[in-house]
Point group: C2
Chain length 363, copies 2
């Protein structure tokens, strides 16, 4: 019997994620199989994955495994998706994983045309400090730049022989040379912690990154020797666009919050966000809010309220109509202000520690 996705606090986008799970043959995430699941896991924002049991087993039996993620320094800001990745990395880091963060500067160059110098600068001055501010423990983290990791590049070339253009296009939909080179580097990154020693690893990503996982797993299966464990993955839902679309996107700036962003502009966007409140106050008091279509509640659920009891209380008040959408937005604005303040200060603070990062030393 197929387990259903349980989303205790609702979301109108549920069907989209059920379709994704079916289309891509993903496993449904079960928070119960991981010890002390984090907020995203408990609330089914983390909703699916691949080969998750090998990771939960590794945690329970204290076996070696790794968690890995990449920083894409072509962007000048991060977004809520990045925040979720960092939170999931933090979870595994606190549960025994060897942690690797790479700066995808070759990908920034080959797929986005950002120079290696510019990418390095952005990563050191903004992205890594932001990751630290969001909870990454740098003492337990190994960092590297793709462009300095000869082993990763050499493996990228070897792996390229294992895939045809048609197969690549079937996975990615398109296949420009820059995109192919970036993808092959990603495959090598994902497997890098296994170059010296075969071990399980988990890659927490947004669902739109699944093609990289499929490509990597296809290639691992084709390698003659059983050199690598098939890497596991963990997918979180998107933070929806404030206008109700599935994914926040810079292409609609008034419905997108960047990290960090000026709090005045953030508050304006929240006040204009798609609400589950009724047309009149009378109606709202009588019928209660339609929580599934409320993007502000989704923000509180995904990012702004840590305590389940507190979220549950807000849910009940709003659902019953006792709390208005204006009041809900006010809560969100307050919490967002606190969060942005901490983030900005945290980044500032973290910049001081850039000198003490554990960058891989290459020969």
């Amino acid at each position: 019997m197929k387990q259903k996705i349980i989303d205790p606090w609702g979301s109108s986008l549920l069907e989209d994620y059920e379709k994704i799970i079916k289309d891509f043959g993903l496993e449904i995430f079960d928070a119960g199989s991981f010890p002390n699941p984090n907020r995203l896991m408990r609330r089914n924002v983390v909703f699916a994955g691949r080969d998750m049991k090998i990771i939960s087993d590794a945690i329970r039996h204290r076996k070696k495994y790794y968690v890995l993620s990449g920083i894409m320094p072509s962007n000048e800001k991060i977004h809520f998706g990045t925040k979720m990745v960092v939170e999931n990395i933090k979870y595994f880091q606190e549960h025994g994983a060897q942690t690797y963060i790479l700066v995808a500067d070759l990908e920034a160059a080959s797929a986005r045309g950002v120079s290696l110098e510019e990418a390095r600068k952005r990563a050191l001055e903004f992205h890594i400090p932001a990751y630290i501010a969001l909870g990454l423990d740098i003492k337990k983290t190994t960092f590297y730049f793709q462009s300095e990791n000869k082993e990763v590049m050499n493996h990228a070339y070897e792996f390229a022989k294992k895939i045809t253009l048609n197969e690549f296009q079937a996975i990615y939909g398109s296949a420009d040379p820059g995109k192919i080179m970036a993808a092959m580097a990603q495959v090598a990154d994902i497997l890098y912690p296994q170059f010296k020693e075969r071990k399980p690893g988990i890659i927490p990503v947004g669902i739109d990154q699944d093609p990289h996982m499929r490509l990597t797993r296809d290639i691992v299966r084709r390698l003659k020797e059983k050199k690598f464990f098939l890497p596991s993955s963990l997918y979180h839902k998107y933070t929806p666009s404030l206008d109700g679309d599935m994914k926040m996107s810079k292409s609609k700036p008034e419905s997108c919050i960047e990290l960090p962003e000026d709090i005045k502009s953030v508050k304006r966007k929240i006040k204009n966000a798609l609400s589950g409140g009724r047309d009149t106050l009378d109606e709202h008091r009588k019928l209660g809010a339609i929580i599934e279509k409320d993007m502000v509640f989704e923000l509180l659920k995904q990012h702004l309220v840590e305590d389940d009891g507190e979220l549950n209380k807000i849910y009940k008040e709003y659902k019953s109509g006792r709390m208005t959408s204006g009041e809900l937005k006010e809560i969100a604005c307050q919490k967002m202000e606190e969060f942005m303040d901490n983030l900005v200060k945290g980044i500032e603070q973290a910049r001081k520690h850039i000198g003490s990062l554990n960058f891989v030393k290459f020969k």
Copy 2:
């Protein structure tokens, strides 16, 4: 007025090369514009190129320029095409060029599936010694392995952004990921000597390697800053298959001579080669040989007779019918035996010098 290809000693394949020049928009090679042209240049085995004037000018005015070529260690032997490349490198090396030889181990891995370790072993134990035996001056040559050259790999990623899949396919006819990655590494190799300092360079290659030149030149033209000189190229004709086809190929082993190869088997192949001799001796004495279709004369011309006077004498004797095709083949067998002997001994001798090669030291 378009200059015609002059091939003083004829070849039935001339039309094919005229078509190539037209199709690919090449310049016709003019031996007169280069000082002391080598055997291949004098005899129009070198037949075309791109931007050759910038190189002949550099030679005449003693300006900095470079010559570069790659060793493809996926092959276990070399062939006459490689010999011609080395002879042309030697020419430029003796005429003031900075000389670069790279081992295309990433290409061997990504396009042919040969491991980096195996590629390295073959290059050091066979290919480089063979290049030395054929005349490369290692004291004046800089060597590197692609897999150790981070700068080359990083540039390969940056260059990939400058070309679309359609453009790549238009140049190469196909575009598998391994092939794309190999080609992008080649582009970076070709430009490597210009990374630190912009200067002209010439790449002597077989005409089948022209796609790499076109790709490189297309990409250089698209780079915003004028970072690189458009690289020049020099094309030699193929050594024809002993059965008269345009190109010797291992797919027809009885018509193909590898370097080195057991002399008994080579002599057998020469004796069976397509000849320009007439059906009967009487006829031959009367009409003379049809030199244009004689593959053994082509071998003598391209590879075995250094002195123009000597070649001319053989040409006249054979053309007039005074020399039989049997006698011509006997000359070729003798000369080939001497050449193979020297090559084998030269490779043996050169292996002793592998330790003193100028490999680029990478940080």
